[in-house]
């Protein structure tokens, strides 16, 4: 398919380059920058605590108990007369350091385990996966309760235990990354060139897991901070240790007399966890490419159609049998790319007549599928579409919204996709997917719809319609799936059928049968057809007229016989030549389907 490549869901592991990109991208994201600044400030504040306050965070002064904010205590004093500002600063040390302990333990356990399991697989992997599944089912807070009540009230101990409990998440991440990288070619190459496993891991695998690990670390850090707060709320933890949790502890005791005491540590905790979460989010976005942001900046295809020029603007009142079914004028499709737009269809005009087959030919990337999608209103949301007119049987289609388009789609204009298996909803039975549009468009009972679908299935050459009706897509073969999709397309007797390379994904033997099926259905229902293909053999077999496209532009349009006999453009000639060289026996034998033209003329 020719959707322009958006910069990848797939993490391409060319580590150094991508890392630079990542950093740059991150710095272009204001949210990420804000989060980084806040985290840096928090860290700096904790390190610079002695500079920022002259108070000793643990020294309590009876007369300062619950002192209000003032010159002596910028944020007041807590329930036992300790300076809140000093506690906040020094508390950051304990809280952040303890959270780091959790992160460190999680990674110290998770990384080696993940490398081991992912790289060597086998028994080690089985055991480790088993152990990680075990750990994942342990309710962390209960274990922490027991540890803190029975073993030690130190925040650091608690966080180390948390790190251990949480380490399976690191293990899973590292393992998954390693498994995928291990299959990469350059790792094979490295192995062949005699690098040791250790060096391969260090040189090739660690760099790849770096970025996802940073995200994971940020998340664990946030969880650790939250858990500290939760433990403090439960009255565990050691209040004589200066930490945000201990501050919360004190604040809870004074919640009705000095609720402001709750504000500061809660604010510090929320700031930290939120910044970490936003940073992780931004990192993920940066890794996952622009996909998400594109989606959110454009709501639906930007479609604009200028009023069709000329005499044809008057709308014919009746269906003009045998005449022009679809006219497209000057169609243009664009996609946003970094810093601009890329035009994938540029000024294409075409006409389909009722009962005739138009072949849309070109190499992949020539914009033929994009042209097909734009006629159906199926372009992805970020795409932009313009045309001087898209006139279907007297109605202007350009600029129609989803609801309005649905009056045509499925009912009067139908679509057969290229890849049969990925075009059936895997979660529903074949039957239910076929029945739904039939019921919607034809407004008939479920029983009538089922009967219609069963007869359709039989019509498209499925020998056991009942079984296929009840089957899920994964239970049927590709050829059968394509028959199902064809049945779906013609189920509401459309006037126009758009088939996007309907046979490319199929076995050669099945290809011919499917083409025959389309041809016979077209014949029997007198449909206009746009057949998108790169195969001149198919064109010769089935089409009346041909439009050749290249790089989004129209190269030439002609009747089939005319084109084969006397191609005008060099490009067409070149295409024809290359087709004939490896022509399939079937098309070579049959040649241009002249007889058919006679019949429909």
């Amino acid at each position: 398919m020719s959707v322009p490549p958006t910069d990848g869901l797939v993490v391409v592991p060319s580590a150094p380059v991508r890392r630079r990109h990542l950093m740059v991208r991150l710095l272009h994201d204001p949210v990420a920058v804000a989060a980084l600044v806040i985290l840096a400030l928090l860290a700096a504040a904790s390190v610079l605590a002695p500079v920022l306050t002259s108070h000793d965070p643990i020294r309590s002064s009876l007369f300062d108990t619950l002192a209000p904010m003032g010159p002596d205590h910028p944020l007041g004093a807590d329930g036992v007369g300790r300076d809140v500002w000093a506690q906040l600063l020094y508390g950051a040390r304990t809280s952040l350091a303890a959270a780091l302990v959790a992160v460190a333990v999680a990674f110290a356990v998770g990384i080696p385990a993940g490398l081991l399991g992912g790289y060597y697989r086998g028994k080690a992997d089985a055991i480790l996966s088993w152990a990680s599944n075990f750990m994942m089912a342990v309710p962390a807070i209960i274990v922490l309760l027991v540890v803190m009540a029975a073993v030690s009230q130190s925040t650091y101990v608690a966080m180390a235990v948390l790190g251990l409990i949480i380490s399976p998440s690191v293990y899973r991440l590292i393992r998954a990354s390693v498994v995928s990288v291990r299959e990469e070619l350059y790792v094979d190459a490295a192995r062949v060139s005699g690098l040791t496993d250790g060096r391969i891991m260090r040189r090739h695998i660690l760099p790849v897991v770096q970025a996802p690990s940073i995200i994971q670390a940020a998340q664990i850090f946030g969880v650790a901070i939250s858990i500290q707060a939760g433990l403090a709320f439960l009255g565990l933890g050691s209040p004589s240790e200066t930490s945000w949790g201990a501050m919360l502890n004190d604040a809870f005791a004074n919640i009705y007399t000095a609720p402001m005491l709750l504000l500061w540590p809660a604010l510090a905790i929320c700031l930290t966890t939120t910044s970490l979460a936003l940073l992780a989010n931004a990192l993920r976005d940066a890794l996952g490419g622009k996909k998400v942001r594109q989606k959110s900046s454009v709501q639906r295809p930007k479609t604009s159609v200028r009023p069709a020029r000329g005499a044809k603007s008057a709308k014919p009142a009746v269906r003009n049998l045998g005449a022009e079914l679809l006219r497209v004028d000057n169609l243009k499709v664009t996609y946003p790319v970094d810093g601009g737009t890329r035009t994938v269809v540029d000024g294409v005009s075409l006409v389909v007549e009722r009962g005739k087959v138009l072949g849309l030919v070109g190499e992949s990337g020539s914009g033929k599928s994009q042209t097909a999608f734009s006629l159906l209103g199926l372009l992805p949301p970020e795409a932009g579409m313009q045309a001087d007119g898209i006139r279907f049987d007297g109605d202007e289609l350009g600029g129609l919204g989803r609801g309005a388009m649905n009056r045509f789609r499925g009912k009067r204009i139908a679509y057969i996709p290229q890849e049969p298996m990925s075009n059936l909803d895997p979660s529903f039975t074949v039957g239910s997917q076929l029945v739904e549009p039939v019921r919607q468009h034809l407004r008939i009972s479920a029983r009538a719809a089922k009967a219609k679908v069963l007869s359709l299935l039989e019509r498209v050459g499925i020998t056991e319609p009942g079984r296929v009706f009840d089957s899920y897509p994964h239970q049927i073969s590709g050829g059968m799936a394509q028959r199902v999709l064809i049945a779906g397309a013609v189920s509401c007797d459309p006037d126009l059928l758009i088939a996007d390379e309907p046979t490319t994904a199929l076995d050669v033997t099945v290809q011919a049968e499917i083409l025959d099926l389309i041809r016979s259905l077209q014949d029997e229902r007198n449909m206009g057809v746009i057949l998108v293909t790169h195969d001149f053999g198919v064109v010769a077999d089935i089409c009346d007229r041909v439009t050749v496209m290249r790089s989004g532009k129209l190269v030439e349009t002609a009747d089939v016989a005319e084109l084969f006999a006397n191609p005008q453009a060099d490009y067409t000639r070149m295409l024809l030549a290359s087709t004939l060289e490896d022509a399939k026996p079937r098309t070579a034998l049959k040649g241009p389907a002249v007889g058919r033209r006679d019949r429909t003329a």
Partner: protein, 506 residues
């Protein structure tokens, strides 16, 4: 953005706290001169319905609906009749003869007679609960006739009558001593087991056969266990409970929420308790001048004002103002005088101060610990905090691990104080400190009565203060919050108002 949100959040919080007058709708308890439901919240769960394991203090209310005690205290703290209509001691003060009401039956239908009293008391005495500890002086109980019970004591026990007016004097049916399938008593209410959930909520319904129904106007009593102070406060504010003991910091919020606040003393004394007067662990403490120095070191007025939010009465003694042993003059004995404290320490040879180890109690009593460490440090006593899980606080003190620590305990009844603190085997004499003069006084108190006994109590009190046994700070003031639907009267010698002190607001 985030900051704004958080500030707004706190503003909401603060607003809510100061303006929670509107929360009077969620309550279920009924009103009226009689009848209706009384819902009380208690901060700790009850331990067992078995009187042998029963607790005191905050647990007392749980037992009051089901079990009736032998005696009762009036609102001045005087002992009055209840199940027993009269009581007399022999001259040696070791035989107590009780005359019992003859018209009382347990809720299982069996009669409450002297045999039942004997069985119940002897069963309770054998237990390990706090209540059982108050019965240790009982040697035997005899039942010469159904309406006469004779309690034989191993030694005179001046506190026994008041204890008989509380949980230790409660009588359980002989058929259900261990209360394995629920409590069976003769009290004004019966436990509705089907409506109760252990550990959460106990529902008591009126006992139609009770002999003294006029003192218990409510049809139903519900006791909720709410061990989280915030949840308890919210329950009070939302009108879900009619009464609960609260901590002082909740007073403004609860008063603002339209609840009545009652303050009272229950005889608890808090301060620095010196367990090691013999100097076994910290030799310095054997010197009376050192112990006196510790008394001078504390600015108790400031502690009460700031750390206790003004709730409390500074003191130097262990005996409550309500008790026979109290002497107002003694409270003037030590004032806040750090210079004098240092001088005394120097005199005792500790000019450079000394080191002590104490359990870290910042989880349980943060303010107290902060004040203590700060003020001791000011006179040169360097406190090292020993971090222990807080569940180990009590056991470690009881085992005598620490020479001194912050603590609070006490009783309005002077004999109970002696039992708690003074006797060689007293619970809170963990290092077994033995002072012959004090013990002689104790012995003489137990054998005396009336004014002579009062004089001896005062003498003991004065001796303990002079010898600086401990460094008390203040009598703890307890606070009880109650809804406008009920009237509450506090009761001397009780940490929580007993249920017969609750009346519906008319």
């Amino acid at each position: 953005m985030i900051k704004k949100l958080a500030v707004a959040g706190t503003a909401v919080l603060a607003l809510t706290l100061s303006a929670c007058g509107g929360g009077d709708t969620g309550g279920t308890p009924g009103e009226g001169a009689t009848g209706g439901t009384l819902t009380l919240s208690i901060s700790q769960d009850m331990k067992s319905w078995d009187l042998a394991e029963a607790g005191l203090g905050h647990s007392e209310q749980y037992y009051q609906p089901v079990f009736d005690p032998l005696l009762r205290l009036d609102q001045q703290g005087e002992v009055k009749e209840n199940l027993a209509t009269s009581w007399t001691y022999d001259p040696a003060l070791t035989t107590l003869t009780l005359k019992l009401r003859t018209d009382v039956k347990f809720s299982d239908g069996s009669a409450l007679d002297s045999t039942a009293v004997k069985t119940s008391l002897l069963h309770a005495k054998a237990g390990t609960g706090e209540s059982a500890a108050k019965l240790k002086s009982i040697d035997d109980v005899q039942a010469p006739d159904p309406s006469t019970a004779v309690v034989k004591l191993t030694a005179p026990d001046p506190g026994l009558l008041r204890n008989f007016a509380n949980v230790p004097g409660m009588i359980a049916s002989s058929t259900a001593l261990t209360a394995a399938s629920g409590p069976v008593g003769s009290g004004p209410y019966k436990l509705d087991a089907s409506a109760s959930t252990a550990g959460t909520e106990y529902v008591f319904v009126g006992n139609p056969d009770y002999w003294n129904k006029k003192d218990f106007p409510f049809d139903t009593i519900v006791m909720k266990t709410l061990d989280d102070p915030t949840a308890e406060t919210n329950a009070l504010l939302a009108g879900q409970v009619d009464g609960a003991s609260i901590t002082p910091d909740r007073i403004p919020a609860l008063e603002g929420g339209g609840l009545d606040i009652t303050k009272f003393y229950s005889g608890i004394v808090e301060g620095l308790y010196i367990w090691d007067r013999a100097g076994k662990i910290t030799p310095a403490l054997a010197d009376v001048r050192v112990r006196q120095a510790l008394n001078y070191a504390f600015d108790t007025k400031a502690i009460v004002k700031v750390a206790k939010k003004g709730l409390g009465e500074t003191t130097t003694q262990h005996f409550a103002p309500d008790s026979e042993a109290f002497s107002a003059d003694l409270d003037k004995k030590y004032g806040y005088d750090p210079a004098k404290a240092k001088a005394l320490l120097a005199e005792a040879g500790y000019a450079g101060g000394f080191d002590v180890v104490m359990p870290d109690i910042s989880t349980l009593f943060p303010e107290a610990q902060a004040a203590m460490v700060e003020q001791l440090g000011a006179v040169g006593v360097r406190v090292q905090l020993d971090k222990i899980p807080f569940s180990q606080f009590m056991p470690s003190l009881l085992q005598g691990k620490y020479a001194l620590s912050y603590f609070k305990t006490g009783s309005t009844d002077p004999w109970n104080v002696i039992q708690l603190l003074v006797k060689e085997k007293a619970t809170w004499n963990p290092l077994g400190y033995k002072d012959d003069h004090a013990l002689d006084l104790v012995n003489r108190i137990s054998l005396a009565t009336g004014e002579e006994q009062d004089k001896l109590y005062k003498e003991l009190n004065e001796y303990m203060v002079d010898q600086a046994w401990d460094a008390p700070w203040n009598f703890v003031q307890d606070v009880y919050a109650s809804s406008k639907r009920v009237q509450v009267t506090t009761q001397p010698y009780s940490m929580l108002p007993p249920i017969y002190n609750f009346k519906p607001a008319s």
